[in-house]
């Protein structure tokens, strides 16, 4: 009942909701289902009903509708009253999982990520399977429903995590011999290497380091960092999330850097919110220094140094935890615009969630699939060569969606494109 008290403490935050309904049309589950209980306003109403003692946390209604939330926080962007939905959702979910133990697959992933050893084994296996090329072959050939649908999605996601060769322009892959860029020194930064990011997206981490250095940032190695705990916080395992967050706060604080950099939107959002999560000053101070990689390169009045032309048609899809949770909306676009000859094409409804949300597509196969297909369809209208998005979950989800649709469009992190542009300029 401690958790219930924790939610009850948030009565004022819940009270900010004036029931105006502005969140309904931007909520991916409401768009799909049309049931107000699957809208942010509806979920807040259910939370409030629990606080008022009119609803039990173990009730089907509370469990079902809170579980169905993707946690994209698009509602926060449009809320005229500034309701902190994401914050409330985490506390409400903590109460929900305490009241009813979630099914095994839902418990499995956070458990795996919290343990270093188990995580490296699992992600190592993932890399081996990915290396066989089987996932790519299987994705798109399996049925889309039932167990095989889940396997197909998992395979698609795995396949989409592999490094992409960016074939563009006549001089693809040929490094030009140009004098190495010698930027002014801007400061020292530490990078959150992440769990999935370091396990499956090591190439994104390498690209991040490359572009940081090319832009004059000294990247400090920080050992002792671990999983950020976002996955745990989002699924209501707040205690575990706090444990993991404490580890990172002390590791990064000890490093004494100007900024802590994240290249994964979900992780960055959690780091930024560690102050609220841990309710202590050190965490608050660390949180203030957190930046998304795109902000450091192309935000706050900075411009990335220009590399060689990369004549690609790129569609940028903003990860929800960057766009809505961190409100980082323009710097990824500025970053991409700085690449010579790169053409940015807008995705209709870009600010809508892709349906990734961790392993939502596997736990909510039908709904996640519908949300994902909406994104895939929108991307296919753009005629792009490459999709850029700054979050591993989104990269995998969108990649799997495109593979399932039989498309060969690659999904990359924006810094991969910038790094490629620098590589062609002969700087790395």
């Amino acid at each position: 009942m401690e958790l219930r008290a924790a939610l009850e403490e948030q009565k004022d935050r819940l009270g900010h909701c004036v029931h105006c309904g502005f969140c309904l049309p931007v909520c991916p589950t409401y768009i799909q289902l049309g049931d107000e209980a699957d809208s942010p306003r509806g979920r807040l109403h259910l939370m409030r009903a629990v606080v008022e003692g009119r609803l039990e946390p173990e009730s089907d209604a509370y469990q079902l509708h809170l579980d169905r939330c993707l946690g994209c926080r698009a509602c926060e962007t449009v809320c005229p009253s500034g309701v902190e939905y994401g914050f409330l959702l985490e506390r409400a979910r903590a109460l929900a999982v305490e009241a009813r133990r979630p099914p095994l697959p839902v418990r499995l992933l956070p458990a795996l990520m919290a343990r270093d050893g188990a995580r490296s084994v699992a992600l190592g296996m993932g890399r081996v399977i990915r290396g066989t090329g089987i996932p790519e072959t299987m994705a798109g050939r399996l049925p889309t429903t039932g167990l095989w649908g889940r396997v197909g999605l998992a395979m698609g996601m795995l396949a989409s995590s592999r490094p992409s060769r960016l074939d563009a322009g006549s001089d693809a892959g040929k490094a030009k011999t140009r004098p190495r860029n010698d930027p002014p020194s801007r400061g020292r930064v530490a990078m959150l290497t992440g769990c999935v990011q370091s396990g499956l997206f090591a190439h994104v981490n390498r690209a991040t380091r490359t572009v940081l250095e090319a832009n004059g940032w000294e990247v400090v190695e920080v050992t002792g960092q671990g999983c950020c705990g976002a996955l745990h916080a989002h699924s209501g395992r707040l205690d575990q999330a706090r444990e993991l967050a404490r580890v990172n706060v002390s590791a990064f604080t000890a490093a004494g850097v100007d900024h802590v950099i994240s290249n994964a939107a979900g992780c960055g959002a959690l780091l930024r919110e560690s102050g609220e999560l841990l309710e202590d000053e050190a965490a608050e101070a660390m949180a203030k220094s957190v930046r998304d990689i795109s902000e450091l390169l192309a935000g706050e009045g900075r411009e990335p140094v220009r590399g060689a032309p990369l004549p690609l048609k790129v569609a940028y899809d903003p990860p929800c935890h960057l766009h809505h949770a961190q409100r980082v909306t323009t710097s990824p676009l500025r970053l991409l615009e700085s690449i010579p000859e790169l053409e940015l094409v807008p995705i209709p409804g870009a600010e809508e969630c892709c349906g990734g949300a961790g392993i939502y597509g596997i736990t909510h196969q039908d709904l996640g699939g519908r949300v994902g297909r909406r994104k895939t369809d929108a991307i296919l209208t753009t005629g792009c060569d490459v999709v850029a998005t700054g979050n591993p979950g989104c990269q995998m989800q969108i990649g799997a969606g495109l593979l399932a649709a039989g498309e060969r469009i690659r999904v990359v992190h924006p810094v991969e494109l910038l790094a490629e542009s620098y590589r062609r300029a002969g700087w790395s």
């Binding site: 004036v18 029931h19 309904g21 049309p25 107000e36």
Partner: protein
């Protein structure tokens, strides 16, 4: 585990099964816990849990569900996005909620005819998002437009900041498909779709879901204004801002929006996370938005800025970019949310008062706030006199809640006292039922109640809304003897006189003809003939409010004369010109070419007095610009041609006289080429006052040197300030490729008057609705009519052709009839059959003595 179960009769299993069969298990919700989220809409003071929610995926599913609920005697209520602020979508008495969220398809966008066909669950802004690439927008913009649905907008007759210039939802709805409370489907079409009869759409729009559930909506779109200017004036006092509004209106500008926020609101916004940079010591801030032809805006802006400065603004900010425009609006648009941040609960009132009374009313609201020790923050649509006092409180403080309720009631009383109404745009719903008796007479309440019973005899469709449960006693009917019949028309002298005559006729079962035989035909047998000719003259004109009340027998020309001194007018050029009476225009649904730029008379009709066939006097509407208190019986009188009774007087919303009135006339040898040129002009989207294709002899002029009937005219009427009129003229001339004859000022007005006087005078005289996109083929068919010696005038924007002919002999009449059919075929509009709603007419004419009952058809 125990869950608090609301006291709601649960749905019988058999009924659940039937509904699930229709909408599917996934779209039927009966778990009381899951239903909790539907217990409130945008108004959270009330909680009513429904017994079930169904989410139909098609109009057919919705219809079948309503049919089942009707057969089972189960109450139901439609719900869009649940953003309403009067509790209109609450499931009182355990009603079943019919959610329209899944009916969210835009079925058709027809740019050539500026039309869109949508399902009711489409979100307001989504429609404009889709039509904007065609240069078109959907004009009504309620503040909740990013969330609210068009179905909800239809139910509430929604307004918004820009309705000062563009009007409310009712003006834009052209056709509706409605599932009536008994599950039958009815197709309601407006004048533009060929309907000639009572304005059913007007009645249904704003009926708050009590007359059925809409499944398809056809709306008109407007060209997106080419330019926008936004100005923010900061004032030390609210009075200063109020005076600036009056000054702007009097200067002859019609702004797109005029919005004021008061000091409390500014402080709330600035204290919140949404700080907009308004000075917190300011007494009020006024947002003025102007839109229209780019070239004319700077002069208007200059004029508006002068008004604002002259009335004592301490600061004037003008937006230079879209971002700055957003910033200037921020304090207004974020106000509601900001208040949610500073107080746990919020009660928003929605009263409308005559604009000239705004300063006095605001002072009194301030006093009420002080007296009850409450924070009242005012946000309002100043141009419309539509106030939104926000009372801030904490519902857990019972004593404070009581003070809020008392203060709220007092505010309402103040607004009513000055001639205002209880709701301008939020609707009555459940919240304002208690005030209905204060603004509507017992007669009107009874008429509304009877109309509702005629449409929903079992009271299943959104029960417990709009009307109070108990109605006040109504007056006795007059009991005077019936005068001698067929002694010529009797000129009605007063409401009482008309009531006595109609009550007598009703009692004796004697048919009544109102106005000339021309408008309603003649019944068989002896009958009473009434005329409103004697009810002539202006009764009240309030220039600062831009309103006028006139007797129904007042000729249009006489009204314009009377208004001239105030530099105001009512834009109307009906067939027959200035000699046609206002009452005739209303009852006949007669509008002229000016409806292109200004809308129809129905769109500016604020009030009317109707003496019903039974002899009851109904004061419908009022003197305020926005009014959604109760069902819109007022709109039903438009085009009713005597079917409801006799209209004795009308109140109209006026317009400032345009600075420049210019007419461009092109004489084109080939009538089809003329139509093509006209269509090119229409396609420019220029905000013309009128744009007509005219053929045949008219107004003493001939298209080409007296040789009749050769060629056709294209005539455009342009209103505005000089730069905008000149810019529009250049645009049209470029589209035409040849130069026109130019008439200005009195010459321009006189030209249209002469033309109008020849209209509606033929032995065969009618209007055929046509699609604007078919102008060329309509012109082709029409020209054969002209060959026969007829006259024709086609609206190039919006469609519709008026035809007059004096056929010589029987054979010519037959040919004329055949030609009319041809024109109709070319026009592509098939008028829907008359909907089965005759029960509604019975409310006004229980004895069946009026033309609505004995006339065979409306066409």
């Amino acid at each position: 585990m125990s869950t608090t179960l609301p006291l709601v009769p649960s749905l019988p299993l058999a009924l659940r099964g039937k509904l699930a069969d229709v909408v599917g298990d996934d779209h039927l919700i009966t778990d009381p816990d899951r239903l909790l989220v539907y217990e409130s809409d945008g108004l959270t003071q009330y909680r009513f849990s429904p017994s079930a929610v169904i989410l139909p995926g098609s109009a057919a599913e919705l219809q079948e569900a309503v049919r089942i609920l009707h057969l089972e005697g189960r109450a139901f209520v439609a719900r869009g996005a649940g953003t309403g602020l009067s509790g209109g979508a609450l499931a009182t008495g355990g009603a079943v909620v019919i959610g329209t969220a899944r009916l969210n398809r835009i079925l058709e966008v027809d740019p050539a005819n500026r039309l869109a066909r949508v399902e009711p669950g489409v979100v307001n802004t989504e429609l404009t998002r889709v039509t904007r690439p065609h240069g078109l927008i959907y004009a009504p913009d309620p503040s909740s437009q990013s969330a609210c649905t068009l179905g909800g907008n239809v139910a509430e007759n929604s307004g918004g900041p820009h309705c000062l210039k563009y009007g409310v939802t009712s003006r834009y709805v052209q056709a509706l498909t409605v599932i009536l409370p008994d599950g039958r489907s009815a197709r309601l079409e407006g004048a533009s779709r060929g309907w000639r009869g009572p304005d059913w759409i007007g009645l249904f729009v704003g009926s708050e879901g009590c007359f059925g559930v809409v499944t398809e909506i056809e709306v008109g779109l407007i060209p997106e204004p080419a330019g926008v200017r936004t100005l923010l004036g900061i004032f030390d006092s609210l009075e200063g801002a109020g005076r600036a509004v009056t000054a702007i209106i009097s200067s002859g500008i019609l702004p797109a929006a005029l919005e004021i926020v008061d000091q409390e609101t500014i402080r709330a916004v600035e204290a919140s996370v949404f700080a907009a940079g308004y000075p917190t010591d300011a007494g009020a801030a006024l947002v003025v938005e102007l839109d229209g032809v780019e070239e004319g805006l700077d002069a208007e802006l200059e004029l508006a800025a002068t008004c604002v400065r002259d009335e004592g603004a301490s600061e004037v900010r003008i937006a230079q970019s879209d971002e700055e425009r957003t910033a200037l609006w921020a304090g207004r648009k974020r106000a509601f949310g900001a208040m949610g941040r500073i107080a746990p609960d919020l009660l928003v009132q929605d009263a409308t008062v005559p604009r000239s009374r705004l300063p006095a009313v605001l002072r009194r609201i301030g006093e009420i706030g002080d007296r009850y020790d409450l924070t009242i923050a005012n946000v309002f649509h100043a141009g419309d006199g539509n106030l939104h006092p926000n009372l801030l409180f904490d519902r857990n403080d019972a004593e404070e809640l009581a003070r809020v309720e008392a203060a709220s009631r007092e505010i309402m009383e103040v607004c009513i006292e000055v001639g205002g109404t209880i709701t301008g745009e939020h609707g009555v719903g459940i919240d304002k039922r208690g005030y209905m008796e204060r603004v509507l007479s017992p007669e009107v309440l009874h008429a509304m109640s009877e109309v509702r019973s005629a449409l929903d005899p079992f009271g299943l469709c959104n029960p417990g809304k709009v009307l109070p449960d108990e109605l006040p006693a109504r007056a006795e009917l007059p009991n005077e003897p019936l005068p001698a019949l067929d002694a010529g028309p009797i000129e009605v002298e007063s409401d009482r006189h008309a009531a006595a005559l109609l009550a007598a006729a009703s009692r004796e079962g004697v048919s009544v003809v109102i106005g000339g035989a021309r408008s309603s035909g003649a019944p068989p047998g002896p009958h009473l003939r009434l005329s409103a000719r004697g009810l002539r003259g202006v009764i009240d004109h309030s220039p600062p409010d831009l309103t006028v009340t006139v007797g129904a027998g007042t000729p249009v020309g006489e009204l314009q004369e009377a208004l001239l001194a105030s530099t105001q007018w009512f834009p109307l050029d009906p067939p027959g010109g200035g000699a046609t009476t206002i009452g005739q225009v209303l009852a006949g649904g007669l509008d002229g070419p000016l409806c292109t730029g200004y809308g129809r008379l129905r769109d500016h009709l604020l009030g009317a007095t109707l003496v019903t066939g039974e002899g009851r006097v109904l004061e419908l509407g009022g003197r305020v610009v926005k009014n959604v208190a109760g069902f819109d019986l007022l709109r039903l009188t438009v085009g009713s041609r005597g079917a409801l009774g006799l209209i004795t007087r009308l109140t109209l919303r006026l317009f400032p006289l345009p600075a420049v009135d210019r007419t461009l006339v092109w004489t084109i040898e080939d009538p089809l080429e003329a139509a093509r040129i006209g269509m090119r002009m229409a396609a420019t989207g220029s905000p013309v006052a009128a744009l007509e294709w005219i053929a045949g002899e008219f107004g003493g002029e001939s298209p080409s040197d007296g040789r009749l009937p050769v060629g056709a005219l294209v005539a455009a009427r342009l209103h505005g300030n000089r730069p905008s009129v000149e810019a529009m003229a250049r645009t049209l001339e470029a589209a035409a490729g040849v130069g026109p004859r130019v008439l200005e000022g009195e010459e321009s007005a006189g030209w249209w008057e002469r033309r109008a006087r020849r209209e509606g005078t033929g032995a065969v005289s009618t209007v055929v609705s046509t699609l604007a996109s078919r102008a060329e083929s309509v012109a082709e068919a029409t020209h054969r009519w002209v060959d026969l010696g007829g006259r024709a005038s086609l609206h190039l924007v919006g469609g519709g052709v008026r035809l007059d002919l004096d056929p010589a002999g029987e054979r010519a009449v037959d040919r004329a009839r055949a030609l009319l059919d041809e024109v109709a075929r070319a026009g592509g509009v098939t008028p829907a059959p008359s909907p089965e709603l005759s029960g509604v007419l019975g409310v006004f004419d229980p004895a069946g003595i009026l033309p609505g009952r004995w006339r065979e058809s409306w066409s």
